[in-house]
């Protein structure tokens, strides 16, 4: 009996020791590498891969200077609490993986029988290990490993999505900051016109009607400025949540959307790049593989009886000990396992189709995002190269015609206002460019094949009269790693 007992423990222990020890930070290194490859920014698991205090210091540093898009992405990855919550999935999945490597515990049963009328009790002991489970263990571990891979990919994808949302929110906020400034100037111009009208009205030179018209223009401009202010506050609020910043008003944002990168992004290979890079697609592929494994496992178990092997020891009432092996199995009379196989087949095929659907969607998304980016670039260039210079010229000529008393002060102020309005439309176009750029980065699943332009172009500053442009930090370049910790 002892021999059998020991014989049975060997494979169990063997299987158990085959399960490698997994450290607590399992997987974060790979996730961080994936994220850094695709965003240029590091990812840390607070308290696990980076000390919480060090992290807090870095957050503080980033918040001390006006934020660029890159800085905002860095900050979100460091500081977004939802992302931190998601990182805990890694720990949970790790525990699941460890559990999947363990054998199902053997079943010990004991029975004591009391003979009628007294006498020695009869004892029965049995120890049964589920055989099927033992056989399926490597398969289960393969599935669990893939599941863990999936969790890592999902976590990394969540970080990328956060980066994309942050960039988007950042460009929105940066654009609305600029627009607020322009609308402030428009209000200033309209106010000057209203002021002139009031002075002329006091001097007896213009009618009540003309004064009312000028006032109406000014009040419209005030309203537009008010809307721009609220819009800016809301955009800043949205950004603050993504950055994990609780005091949204303390956020400082670099006041100008960056200039466009000098070169267009090449469309060639973008789709292939996306298919290779997209982590949600990688998750989907793993899902298909998991389904295939599960199907194999179900087929296997359908062929195998659900066998339990063990030993039984019995003490008869007369005191004699009996010992012998025990077999326990269920008979596939009603359920031969065929329906389970069919279901698993369905799931597998479903995963296959979903993967194909996602691939098609990704290809189309890439093409759409690229088109949107091209259109946005064309619009920005149209403003920058054609419309803005034209309005500069119109304003300059208006000033000359004003000097020549061919245009009045209202015409001159209106020319200035129109120039500012074109300036605001240009800001919209530039914001749309960066939104499209961010969108393309996201659908391609990683950095785009281009350097990000660091310049803030000067040619727009004329829009702001004599006002100084606030100093800005140099844009951080995502593919330069020297500032990062690895």
């Amino acid at each position: 009996m002892k021999v059998i007992f020991l014989w049975m423990l060997v494979p169990i222990l063997g299987l158990m020791t085959g399960c490698a020890f997994l450290p607590r930070d399992a997987g974060i290194g790979e996730v961080a590498t994936l994220v850094e490859e695709r965003t240029g920014e590091p990812l840390y698991w607070p308290g696990v891969s980076l000390d919480e205090e060090v992290l807090a210091l870095r957050v503080q540093e980033l918040l001390e200077q006006p934020l660029s898009a890159v800085g905002a992405t860095r900050l979100a990855l460091l500081n977004n609490p939802s992302l931190h919550a998601q990182l805990e999935d890694l720990g949970i999945a790790r525990a699941d993986l460890v559990r999947a490597g363990l054998l199902r515990n053997p079943v010990l049963s004991a029975t004591v029988l009391f003979p009628e009328g007294g006498g020695r009790t009869q004892l029965e002991f049995s120890l049964v290990q589920e055989f099927l489970h033992v056989v399926q263990l490597p398969l289960k571990r393969r599935v669990a490993t893939k599941n863990f891979e999936q969790v890592k990919l999902r976590t990394a994808d969540a970080a990328l999505t956060l980066a994309a949302e942050t960039r988007e929110a950042f460009y929105q906020a940066q654009g609305s900051l600029w627009l607020r400034e322009i609308h402030g100037l428009i209000e200033e111009v309209a106010e000057a016109a209203a002021d002139v009208a009031e002075r002329l009205h006091r001097a007896g030179n213009i009618t009540d009607l003309a004064l009312a018209r000028e006032m109406e223009r000014y009040q419209q401009a005030r309203l537009a400025h008010m809307q721009a202010r609220t819009r800016q506050a809301l955009d800043q609020e949205k950004l603050a949540v993504l950055l994990g910043v609780t005091q949204s008003e303390s956020l400082r944002i670099a006041p100008r959307l960056p200039a466009l990168p000098p070169a267009e992004i090449d469309e060639i290979d973008l789709e292939e790049r996306a298919l290779a890079q997209r982590l949600d697609l990688a998750v989907m592929r793993l899902e298909r593989e998991v389904r295939a494994e599960a199907l194999r496992g179900t087929r296997f178990s359908a062929m195998q009886p659900d066998l339990g092997l063990g030993a039984e020891v019995e003490r008869e009432s007369d005191g004699t000990w009996l010992a012998g092996p025990k077999v326990r199995m269920n008979l596939p009379i009603f359920d031969a396992g065929g329906s389970a196989v069919a279901a698993q087949q369905g799931w597998w095929r479903q995963a296959l189709r979903q993967e194909a659907a996602l691939e098609a969607q990704i290809r189309s998304d890439v093409r759409q995002a690229w088109l949107a980016l091209q259109q946005a670039r064309a619009e920005v260039e149209h403003y920058r190269q054609i419309l803005l210079p034209l309005h500069d010229q119109i304003l300059e000529e208006s000033q000359l015609h004003y000097n020549a008393m061919q245009l009045g002060v209202f015409d001159l102020l209106e020319a200035k206002q129109r120039q500012l309005e074109i300036g605001s439309r240009h800001v919209n176009a530039r914001r749309d460019y960066w939104l499209a750029h961010s969108r393309l980065t996201w659908v391609v699943g990683g950095l785009l094949p281009e350097p990000v332009s660091p310049e803030i172009d000067e040619d727009l500053e004329g829009l702001f009269g004599t006002e100084e442009v606030p100093a800005t930090e140099p844009e951080m370049v995502p593919d330069s790693h020297q500032e990062h910790d690895h």
């Binding site: 100037l185 200033e188 111009v189 000057a192 002021d195 002139v196 002075r199 002329l200 006091r202 001097a203 007896g204 030179n205 213009i206 304003l395 000529e397 000033q399 000359l400 015609h401 004003y402 000097n403 020549a404 008393m405 061919q406 245009l407 009045g408 002060v409 209202f410 015409d411 001159l412 102020l413 200035k416 702001f464 009269g465 004599t466 006002e467």
Partner: protein
């Protein structure tokens, strides 16, 4: 000089005139002041005093078998209306306006008209008595002269007087573009109606949008350049007179829409003729301002006995402006305090103008649209002359002045700041 020599000289001048046109544009620069007494035609046959048309040449001619032959070429011309303003107009023989035709009562004149314009034209000899077929009204008296063709007009001058020529085909366009000229006929007896200086001024008006170079023939009321002989002050050449001379000024108006009351300072004059002819001495009337209606001429005469630099101008104040804008708010009397600083924050070149009046605008030197003279006045001996347009100066000096000479006033004859003691003496309170 023999008759043969004289003909040769006239022919050379004729050729020279054509050459001048070939060279291109008329500069509109004032001819040398002495030219008035020495232009072709001032010769032994006609001893009349030549008419002087400031800023304008006289048309050369030659005699062929006793007929005075002229050649007018209608063509596009680039012309300076005043320093800083050039226009792409139409004129004759490279000039805007056309050269003055000068002839003598009894002359038979043959005038060839070549059309180098992009559209047909014709020439009407305004006020001149002639056969109906020579009157130049296209469609009524003749076929229009097509581009590239040359028509011949020929008639005998049966009168003397101050006349003009201008197109009578699409005259609204062609006159707005500058096509007009003077036709002066001297009396056969050169001793009659004798004066010492005989000037002619052709008045016209233009619409030239600020910053453009093309006269706008579509304009009906809002003319912004008013000229004498195709020049606006300060581009007008002064009338130079020696004190004591008897002066005639022939005023001719071919403006599109405006009659001009022309006012001479310093004198009273007599209106001695219209384009209908001489007014009998008993019917001449004294004036200081003579209204010259559109399509009319008025001769005025006076004895230049009072020396000085005397203004001669249209008395309509808006005709004393160059390219003035009318569609701007009336700023006069507005309180400007703090406004410039406010607006200069976003328009650094801004300055409030017109709230104290518009005097001195021409002296500010502010940048204005290219090819425009919206503010221009001229420089005088006492500073800026705040007038422009239909304005010129009659310079009557003890000796014949040069164009740039200013009258030197005897001491005590110029208005000056009133001395304190005078104010006190005369009981004038200024506070």
């Amino acid at each position: 000089m023999t008759r043969r020599q004289m003909l040769a000289r006239s022919a050379a001048v004729f050729a020279g005139g054509v050459l001048l046109k070939e060279v291109g544009e008329a500069q509109g620069a004032p001819p040398p002041p002495s030219a008035g007494n020495q232009r072709p035609g001032a010769d032994a046959i006609n001893r009349h005093l030549p008419v002087h048309t400031p800023n304008v040449e006289n048309l050369p001619w030659k005699i062929v078998d006793g007929v005075k032959v002229f050649h007018l070429i209608a063509e596009p011309v680039r012309h300076e209306l005043a320093p800083g303003l050039r226009v792409d107009g139409w004129g004759y023989n490279g000039r805007v306006h056309g050269p003055t035709i000068e002839a003598v009562e009894g002359d038979r004149v043959r005038i060839y008209v070549t059309n180098r314009l992009p559209e047909p034209t014709s020439v009407h000899w305004h006020g001149i008595l002639l056969p109906n077929g020579m009157d130049g009204v296209a469609g009524l008296n003749q076929r229009p002269i097509p581009p590239g063709e040359t028509y011949r007009y020929e008639f005998t001058l049966r009168q003397h007087g101050t006349h003009m020529y201008h197109p009578h085909f699409d005259e609204m366009t062609q006159m707005a573009m500058g096509m007009m000229g003077l036709f002066i006929i001297h009396p056969r007896d050169s001793r009659a109606y004798r004066v010492d200086q005989d000037f002619a001024l052709l008045l016209s008006e233009w619409k030239i949008q600020v910053g453009t170079s093309r006269p706008d023939p579509g304009e009906m009321v809002d003319f912004n350049i008013l000229t004498m002989n195709g020049r606006a002050f300060p581009g007008t050449e002064p009338l130079l007179v020696r004190q004591g001379e008897k002066v005639r000024i022939r005023l001719v108006n071919l403006s599109a829409m405006s009659h001009h009351p022309i006012h001479l300072h310093g004198y009273k004059f007599l209106v001695t003729a219209t384009d209908g002819g001489k007014i009998p001495p008993s019917a001449q009337w004294p004036e200081t301002t003579v209204l010259v209606p559109v399509g009319s001429s008025r001769d005025i005469e006076f004895n230049a006995d009072e020396p000085g630099d005397w203004a001669l101008h249209c008395h309509m104040t808006h005709h004393l402006m160059n390219q003035m804008g009318h569609d701007i708010p009336n700023m006069i009397g507005m309180d400007p305090s703090g406004l410039d600083e406010k607006i200069q924050r976003f328009l650094p070149g801004y300055m409030t103008m017109g709230h104290t009046g518009m005097g001195g605008m021409g002296t500010m030197g502010m940048p204005v649209p290219r090819n425009s003279i919206p503010m221009l006045g001229g420089e005088g001996p006492f500073g800026h002359i705040d007038m422009a347009g239909m304005f010129t100066i009659v310079k009557v000096h003890p000796t014949r002045p040069a164009p740039d000479d200013w009258y030197e006033h005897p001491p005590g004859t110029v208005a000056e700041p009133a001395p304190e003691q005078d104010l006190r003496r005369d009981g004038i309170k200024t506070g």
